[in-house]
Every structure is written in C-alpha cells, then in structure tokens.
C-alpha cells in the first residue's frame, strides 16, 4: 500500500518517521489525480507549481 492511501495523520506520521518523503507524496498525488480524475471528475483544478514550490526538496536517499 502506498503512503498516499493512508489518512493525513498516517502520512504525517510516516513523514516524521522518515518512511515517506513529502515531495514524493506530492508527485504521487498529482499522478493519481491525473490517472483517476477523468473517470470520477472530482478535482476541478490542481496547482502543481505552487504545491511543488511549497514542498521541501526530496531528501537524499
């Protein structure tokens, strides 16, 4: 299961524990919206630019 499928509390805990990276989570969320939104028409607009600029850079592995 992807960290994206966790609740927000779960995602936050995973980030704090170092088990998830916020930038990767963001990219995964944007990809999933692009994949699934055509079928469910739930997301009106995304703001990938501002989201990325607000997100910390990926941590080095």
């Amino acid at each position: 299961m992807s960290a994206l499928d966790l609740t927000l509390r779960g995602q936050a805990a995973a980030i704090v524990a170092g088990d998830a990276d916020p930038s990767e989570l963001l990219e995964e969320a944007l990809e999933r919206i692009a994949e699934r939104n055509p079928a469910i028409n739930a997301v009106v607009e995304t703001f990938p630019g501002s989201a990325r600029s607000a997100s910390p850079p990926p941590t080095a592995a």
């Binding site: 609740t7 927000l8 509390r9 936050a12 994949e35 699934r36 055509p38 079928a39 469910i40 028409n41």
Partner: protein
C-alpha cells in the same frame, strides 16, 4: 471576479473527521481541539421540503441519526425551520451576485474563448439580475440567521441529508425525489445552502451507499462550534465502526483497479 465570497468558503475535504480537523486547523489558522461529545441534542426538520428525499437517502440518514444519538447518549428533537426553499433561492442569488462588482462588459468580452457557451451565458445572465432581488435575498438571509440562532438555543446540531439524492450522471444532472424530478443544482442547496446563507459551520459525513454512490449526512452547528461538529462526526464514525468512511464506492474501486 470577487476574491471573497460570503456564501462560499473553502474547507477541508478528507478521508475522515480527524483528518478534517487536522487540515481544517491548518486552513483556518487555529487549532481545532478534539473533545468527547455527550448528550448531543440533534435537531431534525420535518416538513414538505426537507422530507422530499430519495428513499435510500432518507433511510441511511435516519439510521445514522439514531446511531449518533445512541453513541452520544443524546436526544433527537423535531425542530421548525420555515422557508427552506426561499432560503435556498436567496443563497443561490447572493452567491451569484457577489462577484458582480468585479464583472464588467469589458471583462465579459475578454472571457477565455475556451469557456463553454453555458458558462459564458451564465456569466452574462448574472449581469441582468435586478438589484432589488439581491436586497430581498439579504433580507431572507437576516431572517434565516435569526431563525437559526433560535434553533440552536434548543439543539446542538441540525442533521439532515447533505443532498436529497445521490449524484446523478453528468450527462443527465437530474435527481428523482418523491415530489418528482428536479435538477440536482436546485435540489442540492435545500439543506446544505442554509450554512452558506447564514454562515454556520457544516460538514458532511458518509453514512451509506445507494446505487454504488455515497450518501452523506449533513451536520450543522451554531457559529463558532466547528469543534463540536468534528466531535459529532467522529462519534458517528465510531458508531458505524468506520464502515462508511473506509468504504470505497464501486466507481472508485474500479478506478483503483484499472488505474483509470
């Protein structure tokens, strides 16, 4: 368009109430503390308009209200809230006229050419709404604020279906209610629009599925009682064993399986 609306306010849309509390705290810039709700006084409106609900939605919401009552050791009280339909009209009218101060024929002429003809027509239609109608809508708003304030002297929350029927198809945005077919836009503002009109906090908790589509119970509370609403929503989630917040509508499950 106006940047600020008094009827349409951003809020969190999350997997469950606890996540809404977390995201809401970030959005509103203040901590929404969790508490234990006890002896919740739940108000229900029973009149021709608020009872005009699809049977499956009515059943799921009634079941949820009873579960919430039992979980909190509370009580369900019938309340009177007259003029729901004019209030819904006032909500739509105010929402549609608030942005007019920033709309001009010049700006209308510069609308994105990719904007649909319906959206273009709607923008122009708003320019034709008479100012007198807007003023009447504001009077209805004041009246409903007084009525809602009186209701919250007797109950902690108002509970009713978020929308009276599950979502229709995009190709045919009509809902079938006991009174007949209505456009979804017309039906959906009946209960939910009260919060937009009066400024009270509201949230929707998933309480079932009908035809594979989610049903929501709307809870509304007095001004400033956002935390109580979240507590009540968490109590409702507990009462159902988190069944509905964790259930995936078939459409979403299909998207998850196929990736489309």
């Amino acid at each position: 368009m106006a940047k600020i609306s008094t009827t349409i306010v951003s809020g969190p849309l999350c997997a469950d109430a606890a996540d809404c509390r977390l995201l809401g705290s970030a959005l509103f810039g203040e901590s929404l503390e969790a508490g234990e709700v006890r002896s919740l006084r739940i108000g229900v409106v029973r009149d021709n308009v608020s009872e005009d609900v699809a049977p499956a939605v009515r059943e799921a919401c009634q079941e949820a209200i009873e579960a919430l009552r039992a979980e909190t050791g509370g009580a369900v009280r019938e309340i009177e809230l007259a003029d729901i339909e004019p209030a819904a009209l006032a909500t739509v009218l105010i929402a549609n006229t608030e942005g007019l101060s920033a709309l001009s024929p010049r700006r209308l002429a510069k609308l994105d050419p990719e904007l649909s003809p319906i959206a273009r027509g709607f923008a122009k239609y708003r320019m034709l709404l008479p100012a007198a109608a807007s003023m009447k809508a504001q009077r209805v708003r004041t009246l409903m604020r007084h009525r809602v304030a009186a209701v919250f002297e007797d109950v902690d929350v108002i509970a009713w279906p978020t929308v009276p029927a599950v979502a229709p198809l995009l190709q045919a945005p009509l809902v079938e209610l006991p009174s007949g077919m209505l456009t979804a836009d017309q039906a959906n503002v009946r209960g939910a629009g009260l919060a937009n009109l009066t400024g009270i906090p509201a949230l929707s908790v998933p309480v079932g599925l009908a035809d594979g589509l989610p049903i929501g119970l709307q809870l509304q509370a007095a001004w400033g009682r956002d935390e109580l609403l979240l507590d009540a929503a968490e109590a409702l989630e507990r009462a159902s064993g988190r069944r509905w917040v964790e259930s995936l509508p078939p459409l979403a499950r299909q998207a998850e399986t196929t990736g489309t």
